[in-house]
């Protein structure tokens, strides 16, 4: 219950102001209660008790606040260090200032109250009192003697005259009242000057006791209104028959009005001073206690307020710190609640603006990044779809970009070598040495360049056409290169085709008249010649006829090469086709030509006549190669359906066990007249290549270890073909 109350009181802002107001009221009440004439005097203790209760409550709340602050500090929470520093500073200021003010207040309180009292004044008052007493003393002694004389006079009188004599003595002496009493307090007779007073003032027991001890009594008596009168009482040494006890004469004398007034003044001043002097200590105690309580309450409230205000000051800074951390960790959307219109509020607003701007610029950057990415992807797609290789270098000759085709052309994965220096590309890739050397040489001239280059990757020959263009601001180079090997070969094939066509056309026509003329010469003039001379003519004309035949054969070959008939495509079972061709070569027992096992039902769409020519040319080529080398003719054919480059292909291999193909011939093997054989026109393999390419296929040659060579043919298969 009490903990809940403390918890509720120490959270939020309202309790602080409520408590401050309560303490103000309490301070006012306490100060009012210490005033002399206040009605709150009697409530002082209650108010003070309330103050002490407040003090205890405040101490508990403050301890809780400080403990919470200490806990935050220990946990190193954001802002706790600054809060502790601020609180320490506030507390120091509060304690120092309050201690000084409190010490001076207490000091002045003591000095102020003590300064009311002065030794000289006190002495003067004592002296005044003594003087007054002395002044009255003389008069008292005189009056006592006078009373004794009256007593002597009355003593000798008979009882009957007592009353009368008393009145006379009263008039003579000027006394206020004369009365005769028995020693046990019985009134005998009296004479009172004031007719309004019926009964004389009775001497009290103390007077009677004193008189019983034979001591006369004289005293200064304060009256009802503060005026003074003198009371004298003596034993009369006389006994009446009606009253056997001793009689007492009491006389009340008036005091001179001036003297009475002076005496009263001295008495009042002395009493007031004495009382005030006596009350000095409790007065100081009360004031000091009140002051101490108020100061303690103020100090505790101030410290509590210091903790609160420090937390309030630090809170936006704490939020700012959190926000900054949040921004540092990449969350730019952080917004902080604006604390107020002071500098911290300005800071918070600036922070919010900053984060807004950051968010905007981040969004803009992201948009630009996306745009750039799109453009890069677009460019990548464009570059990727190019048939040319494109690479870019930076100003330090580091490889920046490379499209897919560049890797294919250079037969090296450039994507894995991005951001590496250009000269490192040639490591373990000897065939790139010339390419890189050419780039290094050409980029020295700082202008666009173009150069054709021959490379020898593996055992192939490759011709590249390279073009270099410097990028703007000399930030690097873009180098574009095309593999023009196929183009050059095509050009060469076209040229050969043109030559062949012309040969066929220009040479074939005169050959028949030449042959016919030679036969006519032989037929017409051979009978006319003598027996012994016919032989040379016969030999000469036969030579002409044979050579013309040979020329014809050659021209026919050229004609075949140049011929470009439309393909008569039909579905053929490849095994049947091969076997039909092989059957023509079975007659020669020295030749071992065989078809290895393959799928018997594999069907290919092709022009069967032209493909037979291909097979003839290849088998003939293999036989001739082995025979020329004096080796036994062993030719093996094999075929299979394969999956290559996402397409189905028929792969046909024709392998011999001859000497193999010289290395420098392999790349030119399928060009016309690229032969090292003694026989043949040099067009056999060129025709093979032509026909295969007409079928959208490819052909190439490989040497086989340990002996022989292999011609490889790939023809596209229909998708439905198994």
């Amino acid at each position: 219950m009490a903990l809940n109350l403390i918890k509720r009181l120490s959270s939020g802002t309202a309790p602080y102001f409520s408590l401050a107001a309560l303490l103000l009221v309490l301070a006012y009440l306490m100060s009012a209660a210490t005033e002399d004439s206040s009605r709150l005097n009697d409530l002082f203790l209650i108010i003070f008790g309330l103050g002490v209760l407040c003090l205890i409550l405040l101490t508990a709340i403050l301890i809780r606040s400080l403990l919470r602050l200490y806990r935050d500090f220990k946990r190193e929470e954001v802002g706790s260090r600054l809060t502790v520093r601020l609180v320490s500073l506030f507390v120091l200021l509060i304690l120092v200032s309050t201690t000084i003010v409190y010490s001076f207040s207490v000091h002045f309180l003591h000095r102020g109250i003590n300064s009311w009292f002065d030794v000289n004044v006190e002495q003067a008052l004592d002296d005044a009192l003594d003087l007054s007493r002395s002044a009255f003393g003389i008069r008292m002694r005189t009056l006592l003697r006078q009373t004794k004389m009256m007593s002597g006079v009355l003593r000798d009188l008979p009882e009957g005259d007592l009353n009368h004599s008393l009145r006379e003595l009263n008039q003579l002496s000027g006394a206020l009242e004369l009365s005769v009493w028995s020693i046990d307090g019985q009134l005998i007779t009296a004479s009172i000057e004031n007719p309004a007073i019926m009964v004389p003032a009775k001497p009290n027991e103390a007077i009677f006791r004193q008189l019983q001890q034979q001591q006369d009594y004289i005293s200064l008596d304060p009256g009802d209104n503060g005026e003074l009168q003198l009371r004298a009482a003596v034993l009369m040494q006389k006994k009446l028959p009606s009253h056997p006890e001793d009689l007492v004469l009491q006389v009340l004398f008036p005091v001179n009005e001036r003297l009475s007034s002076l005496g009263k003044t001295v008495q009042d001043a002395y009493t007031d001073y004495k009382e005030l002097s006596y009350l000095r200590k409790p007065l100081i105690t009360i004031f000091t206690l009140t002051l101490s309580l108020i100061v303690l309450l103020t100090v505790l409230t101030s410290i509590w307020f210091a903790v609160w205000i420090s937390r309030r000051i630090v809170q936006p800074l704490q939020e700012l710190a959190d926000g900054t951390q949040s921004v540092a960790s990449g969350n730019y959307n952080t917004q902080i609640t604006v604390a107020g219109h002071d500098e911290i509020g300005f800071l918070v607003r600036s922070f919010n603006q900053m984060t807004q701007r950051l968010t905007q610029s981040r969004n803009a950057t992201q948009r630009s990044h996306r745009l750039l990415e799109q453009q890069t992807n677009y460019l990548g797609a464009v570059l990727g779809s190019l048939s040319s290789g494109v690479i870019t270098l930076d100003d330090k000759q580091f490889l920046k970009t490379a499209n897919v085709v560049s890797s294919t052309i250079l037969d090296i994965n450039l994507q894995h070598r991005l951001e590496s220096p250009l000269n490192k590309l040639a490591e373990n890739q000897g065939h790139l040495q010339d390419f890189i050397q050419m780039i290094f040489v050409n980029i020295q001239q700082h202008s666009s360049w173009q150069q054709q280059l021959d490379l020898y990757p593996g055992k192939r020959h490759q011709t590249l056409m390279c073009r270099g263009t410097p990028l703007p601001s000399e930030s690097g180079w873009v180098i574009v290169f095309d593999d023009i090997t196929t183009l050059i070969q095509a050009q060469r094939s076209a040229a050969w085709g043109e030559v062949a066509r012309r040969l066929a056309h220009e040479i074939k026509n005169p050959l028949t008249p030449i042959q016919l003329s030679a036969e006519r010469l032989q037929h017409k003039y051979l009978p006319l010649l003598p027996e012994g001379q016919t032989e040379p003519l016969n030999k000469l004309t036969n030579t002409i006829i044979q050579q013309v035949d040979a020329l014809k054969e050659m021209v026919n070959d050229f004609s075949d090469y140049a011929r470009n008939p439309e393909l008569q495509l039909s579905n053929c079972i490849i095994s049947d086709l091969i076997n039909n061709v092989l059957a023509l070569y079975q007659s020669n027992s020295k030749h071992e030509i065989s078809l290895l096992d393959g799928s018997p039902s594999l069907t290919v769409k092709l022009d069967s006549n032209r493909f037979r020519q291909v097979l003839h040319n290849l088998i003939k080529n293999a036989i001739e190669a082995s025979e020329e080398a004096g080796l036994s003719v062993v030719v093996e054919l094999s075929y299979d359906a394969i999956q290559y480059n996402h397409n189905k292909w028929l792969e046909l291999k024709v392998r011999d066990h001859g000497p193999g193909i010289p290395e420098n011939m392999i790349s030119k093997l399928f060009e016309p007249y690229a032969t090292n054989k003694t026989k043949g026109t040099g067009l056999g393999l060129a025709i093979v290549k032509k026909i295969i390419e007409e079928h959208q296929g490819i052909v190439w040659a490989e040497n086989i270890h340990p002996d022989g060579a292999c011609i490889m043919i790939r023809l596209p298969l229909e998708d439905s073909t198994p």
Partner: protein
């Protein structure tokens, strides 16, 4: 140095004050005592004679000698007691109460103690404190209100006396209210009936 001493003194006083405040309900010094109280029938009425002893503590005497007037009060309470449940439980109805207030002060000039009845304004002078207290403590022939005394069966007259601390000067009051040296009120004493 003076500040430090003052502060120390104040703290000491504050602690003592708090302790006294907390223990104020503790033991009480020897206080006033009603020695005797008798009701006597005189004619048709009743009078009270009582004797009260006023042993003053040195603190009270000191205040008196320093000119502080001390107010005494004598409280009388007349009630009718009815027995319920065979004397196990008494039901009391207060019929009449009266407080007699006297102020005692020291008159320095005359060296007399002045006892003043605050209700009547009548004052008496005494040469000594003892005689003043003796006179104060003697209640003789105090008339009791006759309207309640037609039937004295079950009537109870109680008397007690004490100091009126609220009449003390303001600075002394808090200290006196919590100090045992000022708590001298006598217990209620039942007067005897004829």
């Amino acid at each position: 140095m003076d500040f430090i001493m003052s502060a120390y003194d104040i703290v000491k006083r504050f602690v003592l004050f708090s302790v006294v405040l907390l223990l104020s309900s503790g033991s009480i010094a020897d206080g006033f005592k009603v020695q005797s109280a008798q009701v006597r029938k005189v004619g048709n009425g009743y009078i009270l004679n009582a004797n009260i002893e006023y042993p003053l503590t040195p603190r009270v005497k000191e205040a008196l000698s320093n000119g502080v007037p001390i107010t005494f009060q004598q409280q009388l309470e007349l009630s009718h007691s009815t027995s319920l449940l065979v004397k196990l439980w008494q039901w009391e109805t207060i019929l009449w109460t009266s407080t007699l207030r006297y102020e005692l002060r020291y008159h320095a000039l005359s060296e007399q103690f002045v006892l003043k009845a605050l209700d009547t304004g009548h004052h008496r002078n005494f040469p000594s404190l003892a005689s003043a207290l003796s006179a104060l403590g003697t209640i003789s022939s105090l008339n009791l209100p006759p309207e309640y005394l037609s039937d004295t069966d079950g009537l109870v007259l109680k008397i007690r006396s004490g100091l009126d601390l609220h009449a003390l000067p303001t600075p002394m009051r808090p200290g006196a209210l919590i100090s045992t040296k000022w708590q001298l009120t006598s217990p209620w004493t039942i007067a005897t009936w004829p």
